[in-house]
């Protein structure tokens, strides 16, 4: 079991779903009994040596890569083309299309790929290039633009974006002195009036 599997994010739904992202692997050994389940094109009970399949990341990060049963390759969303796109203009790249959990996925992939420094730098550059726009938009973008803006963001970015919007809304409410009005519990259905 990798260290991250028992870390502080054990119960974190987002961390769990980030590990659902798929990684291409090369099997360095054959495997008993899981052929059809892991490789849809496989016609045998056993998975053969040298087969390439996409596996969810949680499956590859533990013993499978540690004991060298598989060799992990770089997934598409971190390939050279994506790197070039992001170098050109990080702000306009649709990251969600590449991976909904781009940063979390990349971070744990760094660990699997023997602390790959190049990938770590790339993640940092990407986030740095997008953060300023993200922050400005979360505070000042008009409501009708929000859906379009969110379309190119990963789940992690959306969380930051929403936090920014929430803080702006709370500020406006406070300024208009609407912050001391009680509301019905939101769980009962009707959306809170803002």
């Amino acid at each position: 079991m990798g260290a991250s599997a028992i870390g502080a994010d054990y119960f974190d739904l987002e961390a769990i779903l980030a590990e659902e992202e798929r990684v291409p692997v090369l099997f360095l050994t054959s495997v008993t009994g899981v052929g059809r389940a892991l490789d849809p094109s496989c016609d045998d009970d056993d998975l053969a040596e040298g087969v390439k399949v996409d596996l969810p990341q949680w499956l590859t990060k533990g013993q499978l890569s540690e004991k060298r049963f598989v060799e992990v390759r770089t997934p598409k969303c971190f390939n050279e083309r994506v790197k070039k796109d992001i170098q050109a203009d990080p702000g306009v790249v649709n990251l969600r299309e590449r991976s909904a959990f781009f940063y979390a996925f990349g971070r744990s992939l760094c660990r699997i790929l023997d602390n790959n420094a190049e990938l770590a730098d790339f993640l940092l550059i990407t986030f740095r290039g997008r953060y300023k726009d993200l922050l400005l938009q979360s505070h000042f973008a008009p409501d009708e633009d929000v859906q379009a803006l969110k379309r190119i963001m990963t789940r992690e970015e959306i969380r930051i974006f929403e936090a920014g919007r929430q803080s702006m809304q709370s500020f406006t409410q406070w300024r208009q002195r609407k912050d001391s009005i009680y509301n019905m519990a939101p769980i009962l259905g009707k959306k809170r009036k803002r």
Binding site: M1, A5, Y10, F11, D12, L13, E14, I16, L17, E20, F27, T29, S30, V31, T32, G33, V34, A37, L38, D46, P56, W58, L59, G62, Q63, L64, K67, F69, K178, D179, S180, I181, Y182, N183, M184, A185, P186, I187, L188, K190
Partner: protein, 201 residues
Amino acid sequence: MFGRKAAELVREEYRADADKINTYNEDLVSQVLEETREHYSYIRNIVSRVSEEPSGFAGAAPKDGAAVAIHHESILRNKRCLLAYANTRAEKVRALRWQLGAVLPENVSEKLSAAERDCFKAYDKLLGEYMGTGPDGIGIDLTVDMLPPKDPYIECQVLRDAGAMLLDDKVVHLVPHTRHFIKRAEAEPLIAQGILSHIES
């Protein structure tokens, strides 16, 4: 197989609005448990077959080792997904006590599993004892005054008939569509339950 259903369960909870609670997905949970049992029986089969071979575990083929590793990781994965699902919902169940008070309305209660309803009751008892006037109690209702109070009384409009109730030590029957000044602490839970609405003054 291989964590797909468990991920579905987690995704369902992830997509849910933080303010809402979904119906407990008993069916999917039991499917994940069943799948976990299957993984276990695969491991047992491989282990017992290898242990009967003359070369034993030392001479076991890598292909069997890899298979055990895959099933083992799958079991851990399912466990993590189930626990995260239960934990996220348990947090929401505890939050319900603060939002809605000691008694859950029918339309909320029916969305919880039997265990979650027990959890709510046990949490209610714990919180009640802590806030109560008993030997271990602090004698303060912590669930009210969530916003800093400015005035001890607030103006409220009655939204629906909730029968007779005790307000300010008197039994009153609030008639729908009438407006009243009510003690803030007493009005707050009624607003949360949707019986009153707070009118801006």
